[in-house]
Amino acid sequence: MNILPRPRQPGETIFAYLLLLFSLFVFWEAYKISGFSSASSAGVFPMCAAAVMLFASVLTIVRTQRATAYQREPGLSKVRDFRNKIVPANIIVFVALLVAYTIALDAAGFLLSSFLFLFLSIAYLYRRGPLVALLIAAGGLVVIYVVFRMIFTVVLPKGWLFQ
């Protein structure tokens, strides 16, 4: 069995163990459906899938542990390293914006929340000043709204705040 073609990434071992735990949980939930009552019961196939997941996650753990570790910069803690390489500030800010956007969607409706999301994320990622971000956000949203709401007649969330 050949090991990973690349050095192990920060957090990869923990992730592999989390997948194992998740697989165990799925297997337990699958077992609860109908146990081992018959060869054609509703739970057989979910259990098979969970068993494959279990097997594959054990293999993944073995392979991950055999891989050469990623060379950390000296003096950097594991957590710091994970932050830098896997979830840098870009990702954290963007995911936070995403979560805020989807929550706002239900209350504020599509147009307002999408506009705010576009404006803030473009201002953050593109960094050409607020005016440029404002123009792109407004322009992009108008195009999307015209194409999807007016031409494709897709229903978009209205938001309960304005009803």
């Binding site: 018959s38 896997i86 995403l98 989807t102 990622l125 897709v154 978009l156 969330p157």
Partner: protein, 511 residues
């Protein structure tokens, strides 16, 4: 026959279908070409907007996007050395060195023409092969479908991603997610955690948009600053002598593409890589060494990946088993439009089959037209900064997800899949097998249980069935071989076998 012909021509004669195909190809080329926007992402997001349409216009648009997208990836592979789509990975090997030599225009031209050649051959294979296979598929019992689906998952799991274990995990995870909801046979709830929202299962379009849209957008955040190179694209249309010289290779590569595309679970990306490898081994005197700007290295993958489009439609339309991630998405769309892909679909709705063939043919012609013009506009589009593109992908993903059932809960799900997908991708898991598993899972579950029920719930009789019937036996043996080929025992066994054959004087077999 005349009815088939009129269905074939429908897309050519009705202005709206004609226009939708053109728009699809155009959009496909540009979406496929922009690194970070894959065909699968485009099709998954756009499909959700076509749910309220009739089947035919939806199919016209989707077919166009598929054809255009598979080709479009080659452009950024040539110009930027970044494959715009997985099917263009092999194109970059020789395409980018060609561009560096100042032959970007000709490289784009030749890859367009060869894509069109491959596309046409794939369609011919579809038109001839699908009716024959679907007739044959009527002989298939539930257990055969079960085995075919396993084969598809194994193939996609073992060929994609960095390890078989990760591919298997992704496939099985998809199967488990596909089981969520009320069991269609006994109405027992599976993985629902007693919540009403989960009773109907998780729609795969939601997972698809999350996994291909949001998670890809998050991955792209790592590559915000990609330097752009200006290329010479003044001459695009390749000289006829060059085209004629490489036609035989294009035919050979297309044949590879069709076969690989038609195998359940393998699509354009693998077809292109296989064809490239084949060309590398079979072409004795390439125009330049492979990897340093050989035209052969451009012709082979480009012909193969578009030939794989027609190929991939074969198992999708005849067996209901997706050929690759995009066809998995298209199958999802067909189900939502109330169709059931499989051998009965060819019998009950033959018009849709001939409509699809006509649509793909037209799309290939548009490919030639759009492929050879509008390069300047294209260069502008590829320069679209990612800081603007990524937020726009998010908005489109949200619109697409919400429009499926007008449910904000689905948007939350989509976001969850997106974030989970980001970590899976970061640690070397492919998300394609998850979608394939979600679609194949319920099919495998139902056909397995039907097969076991037909043996009065006896598992040993079911196993006997696997070896006692010729069709089933061949399929079961293929699955076992596929599994064996992934184990560490296989290599010694293979070399041992080779040694035995060698000693008997039979020469080396091509295993």
């Amino acid at each position: 026959m005349s009815a088939d012909l009129s269905n074939f021509l429908m897309v050519w004669t009705q202005p709206d279908f004609f226009a939708l195909t053109a728009i699809g190809v155009f959009a496909g080329i540009y979406i496929g070409a922009i690194p970070g926007l894959s065909v699968t992402m485009a099709v998954s997001i756009l499909i959700s907007f076509t749910f309220s349409w009739d089947v035919n216009p939806a199919l016209a648009l989707i077919g166009g996007i598929f054809m255009g997208g598979v080709y479009g990836g080659s452009r950024s592979a040539i110009l930027l050395n970044i494959p715009g789509a997985p099917s263009a990975i092999a194109t970059a090997f020789d395409g980018y060195p060609l561009a560096k030599r100042g032959e970007a225009g000709i490289a784009i031209g030749i890859s367009t023409v060869m894509s069109v050649v491959g596309g046409f051959l794939g369609i011919v294979a579809l038109a001839v092969g699908a009716p024959a296979i679907s007739e044959f598929a009527l002989l298939f019992a539930p257990r055969d479908y079960f085995l075919l689906a396993i084969m598809g998952l194994l193939l996609v799991g073992s060929l994609s991603g960095e390890s078989v274990a990760k591919g298997l995990f992704a496939g099985a995870l998809g199967v488990a997610i596909g089981m969520v909801g009320l069991d269609p046979m006994t109405a027992e709830s599976r993985f629902t955690f007693d919540t009403i929202e989960l009773m109907n299962g998780i729609p795969y379009v939601v997972a698809m948009i999350g996994l291909f849209g949001i998670s890809e957008a998050l991955v792209q955040l790592h590559h915000l600053e990609t330097p752009l190179v200006k290329q010479d694209v003044s001459r695009i249309v390749p000289p006829w002598s060059l085209v004629r010289k490489y036609l035989p290779l294009a035919f050979r590569s297309s044949a590879t593409g069709i076969v690989i595309g038609a195998l359940p679970g393998t699509g354009g990306d693998i077809a292109a890589l296989m064809a490239y490898d084949q060309a590398k081994r079979s072409v004795k005197n390439p125009s330049h060494p492979f990897g340093h700007g050989a035209y052969e290295g451009l012709v082979a993958p480009e012909a193969a990946n578009n030939a794989a489009v027609g190929g991939a439609f074969i198992p999708m339309l005849t067996l209901g088993i997706p050929g690759d991630a995009v066809t998995a998405v298209i199958i999802g769309a067909l189900y939502i439009h109330g169709l059931k892909p499989g051998p009965m679909m060819m019998i009950e709705t033959p018009h849709l089959f001939w409509f699809t063939v006509g649509n793909l043919t037209l799309a290939t012609i548009f490919l030639l037209i759009f492929g050879l013009m509008g390069i300047r506009l294209f260069v502008k589009m590829v320069e679209c900064p990612k800081g603007v593109l990524i937020p726009l992908i998010v908005i489109l993903s949200v619109v697409g997800t919400y429009s499926i059932q007008n449910s904000v809960v689905h948007v939350y799900w989509m976001l969850g899949f997106g974030i989970a997908g980001y970590f899976l991708k970061t640690y070397g898991f492919e998300v394609g097998p998850i979608i394939l598993g979600m679609i194949l899972g319920p099919l495998m579950d139902a056909s397995y249980r039907r097969a076991v029920l037909s043996t009065q719930d006896s598992f040993s009789l079911f196993l006997w069935d696997l070896v006692s019937n010729p069709i089933t036996f061949v399929l079961a043996a293929s699955v076992v071989l596929l599994l064996l080929s992934q184990t560490p025992f296989w290599r010694p066994a293979r070399t041992g076998l080779l040694r035995v054959m060698w000693r008997r004087g039979g020469g080396l077999p091509s295993l």
